[in-house]
Point group: C3
Chain length 392, copies 3
């Protein structure tokens, strides 16, 4: 059995760093696949490391410098992702999370997929933490936490001749003395000609004491998957609008508008049915013509709380929808803690999360996906709340 | 007709970046002119891009990394600019605008000319903005806004054999989702052996909704133009001191002291007369001997509000005066909004601003400038308020 | 008499910067000594300059990018320093001092020795400063001030064939208009096969007006010097616990626990006796076996206030003790000002501080050190307060 080949791109502990690298399928030993690593220069991107993976059909880029998020992608020439009103990717050096009343995270936000967390995520809000003296101290938590603005300390490429998988691995620490100490270990992989990229995360509590944790996978899709008449596909178990404003749109929660000046975001909170055999669920965005869909597949046991973010504002302002599986909803952390949705990890312990992003093109493929999602529901009912519900 | 030659230094979208470049007059095709581009390393300047233009008489450097500000200059060997108490230029990575009660901007401030704006400028203060939910949210605006601490996403050199102009062009975006979206497009140019550099700015509202905008050109001059007995020359239409402290100096508003320990800045707000034909005005700083002057020339229709900042503190603390044409006065944005001085740009619309900085040496040249400024007034009266006036 | 050789690593004013350099003993002209300079890439360390000095027995690394702190060291293969829960060194670009209620400094803290100061140090707290208008303005001072997160503007290597000293010199400015203007000039040196590194600092008030100043040398030691049964050795003149929590540990102030889950830091404030002849004092950490000790030697006239930080939390959380001579105690600056412990430096004036860090191995050497510390006390009494004392 052949062993996987590995290439180290970054290893701060061992003082290793590769500025530029290209691996063709010969070097990888994997047909159809290539990997390119560059360091960007100039503008807001100056100093960002970018790793681009291409499997012959699907290509996507990983940002080690932004917490191993996934920046852009394309499938058979069709762009995934969306058009953020920033000229990214944006180096964390230039993001001040405390800006604009704790919304500074937005100044770096343009990814196809970024993680929110790990100590906290969701809307900004006050929280009480213990300081170095063990005293309660009030702090301002900023939007969506720190992890998307932390550079990875270790990045490697793996090519496994057995499984044909090419993988980018990364480690990111969100840690400091007297502060939470959480480490993300991620494996982001694909296989030749696949329509899928797989994210496998482990979140480790580095501390000698138990630690809180929140994570949300902020998966963001724009044109051409999103457009007027696009639909959310999901095996809905229960849903409630986030607030009174979203409640106004509850009748059409699964249908999207085109770019709409003056539109204000509507957010819906869900639980989804899981397939009894695989334990997995799927939520997807399908275009109006029914010939394009993009899906996220994961286990509701790991990520029980699903958030749909409808943000059909004008194209230049950021026309996008977020399909966001998480350990909690993106309410302020205090709210999530009260509702029992903040995870605890024991000292030295860890939690694992998996998420696939899949692309479907052609009516036949899209219909097959729809069938699969229907089968997950298996005739089970959806409970739709017309008003915000304290359970969510 | 020969076409202008262009060289791209930075283009984040196309992943182009030139670390170092020297263009002599042969390459530019423009006599007497050279352009050099470097990337600085070490200290607070680490990673800063610097573009130096020399026309044979006048030389100046542009900072793409600091919002296309103008760092230093010299004319026939005489330094323009001033001596800031920092060892700059300072990379925005190391500037926290929220520091010291919203005065963090000062930790990067050492330019000959930097722009204040674009969403806001002036003194720090509370403001109310709409958040992602369309709800009113109170934020702390920081001193002089963001634009001087944002790197350009696109930078080019142009050499036009027709006009003999050498130009540095730049684009800087102050933009994020749910935040203002303003783009600065600037052209900074000079011609062989000229005593003048020309700034041509266009500010574009990238958003699908109308947007507020403020800009102020913070032009800063020290020795040898500033000294004991130096004078402000300007076709004053109306003037009022900013506050009670400035009011004490209203009798000598146009005369400068030498470096003075214990001096506290005095600020005066003006409107200036414009030349009826050209629509332009001039404000200038003349030394005591009358053989050196530095002037800013612009249209009061574009920039109706002129601020004079007298800051004759000791040399090492930052002996300087600011001649500052703007769309508003540098009061907190809320004040300027109440007084009707915050601009609105329609969705996709833009506004244009032009500003020349000119250097005069020798008594004859300086006298000619004085005559030109007198001619702009054309005998029209100046109204000097001895106390702060609510109109300003 | 041979002149010292010098090599410039960084000089922002003269636009000089050396990315990588190795100097062997031949080049230095000093036996047994080598110096290596590198620039780190990747992770939180991206862009950090590191200067490593080795004298044949003792090696240590200096961080010009982090205010000329001392990152790590080792003596005869035994590591000095400690294990911080961050993957450092951390570039100041990625440290937001205002984070987590003013405790953001912790996100960069992993040095063997870092300076706290220079305008302020100690716990976060409100303070009142004068703004540009000479008006009182309330600001939030952040933990331990700015100096450890400011890059040096000038760095040189010196090798002196006369004294056999190899020295890294650095200059760091903590300065901006309308803000304090303090410059640190440091010389960090050692000699062949010595067990000692010497820090010689000068702090200059760059301003034209008198200026406040605080400095504390945060010297941090972990395993194998720190362990269960390790002891503080110091010629104690007077001591008081910082707070009620520390008071509980006053009986065992000089003895350390092993890594202890749930431990909360205990801090003790001291004055120390000085040797009447040399004017110096020593505080040291000795391991239980009595065969290893690490000491700081300095003049209590320069640094009258000594703080002991006991932080015997689990290894992964940051098992460490701080021996911290300072011009004041690390209380909020307002407290220190009230108690008369904030220094004033006249306009253009300066203050000097010296500190040696020394390593002792083997019972004989350690006993000799103990004897030297006993001799400093010379039978003079120690006054131990069992409760916090308003004097400290």
């Amino acid at each position: 059995m052949a062993k996987a080949k590995t290439w180290t791109l970054t290893d701060v502990k061992r003082n290793r760093y590769v500025e530029e690298l290209f691996l063709g399928h010969d070097e990888l030993g994997i047909p159809d696949c290539t990997i390119a690593k560059r360091r960007l220069s100039g503008g807001l991107a100056d100093g960002i490391d970018l790793v681009s993976i291409n499997n012959g059909e699907l290509s996507f880029s990983v940002l080690p410098t932004r917490g191993m998020g996934i920046w852009k992608g394309s499938f058979r020439g069709v762009p995934l992702g969306w058009k953020s009103p920033i000229n990214g990717p944006v180096h964390p050096n230039l993001v001040n999370l405390q800006e604009r009343g704790g919304l500074g995270w937005l100044y770096g936000f343009d990814e196809l997929m970024c993680r929110c967390g790990l100590d906290s995520m969701g809307a900004p809000g006050k929280d009480v933490v213990l300081d170095n003296n063990g005293n309660k101290s009030e702090v301002d938590l900023t939007l969506h936490g720190k992890i998307a603005n932390l550079p990875a300390s270790k990045v490697e490429i793996e090519a496994d001749p057995e499984t044909k998988a090419v993988t980018v691995t990364g480690e990111v620490e969100e840690s400091a003395m007297f502060c939470p100490g959480l480490k993300l270990k991620t494996r982001i992989s694909t296989t030749p000609l696949s329509n899928r990229l797989k994210i496998e995360d482990e979140i480790i509590n580095l501390k000698g004491v138990p630690s809180e944790m929140e994570i949300l996978y902020h998966c963001n899709f724009g044109e051409p998957f999103l457009g007027e008449g696009s639909r959310l596909l999901a095996p809905v178990k229960e849903m409630a609008p986030r607030d009174g404003h979203a409640a106004k749109g509850v009748q059409t929660y699964d249908v999207y508008q085109g770019p709409t000046p003056g539109y204000t975001e509507q957010v819906f909170f869900y639980t989804l049915h899981a397939d009894p055999l695989s334990g997995k669920t799927i939520s997807a965005l399908k275009n109006k013509a029914g010939d394009r869909a993009i899906a996220v597949r994961y286990s509701p046991e790991q990520l029980p709380h699903f958030t749909q973010w409808k943000n059909t504002i004008p194209i230049n302002d950021g026309y996008v929808t977020g399909l966001e599986p998480g350990t909690a909803y993106p309410n302020p952390k205090q709210t999530e803690r009260e509702r029992g949705r903040v995870k605890m990890i024991p000292a030295g312990g860890s939690l694992k999360y998996e998420l696939d992003i899949e692309v479907y093109t052609g009516e036949a493929e899209v219909k097959k996906l729809e069938g699969e999602i229907r089968a997950i529901s298996g005739g089970r009912l959806s409970k739709i709340h017309s008003q915000p519900n304290p359970k969510f």
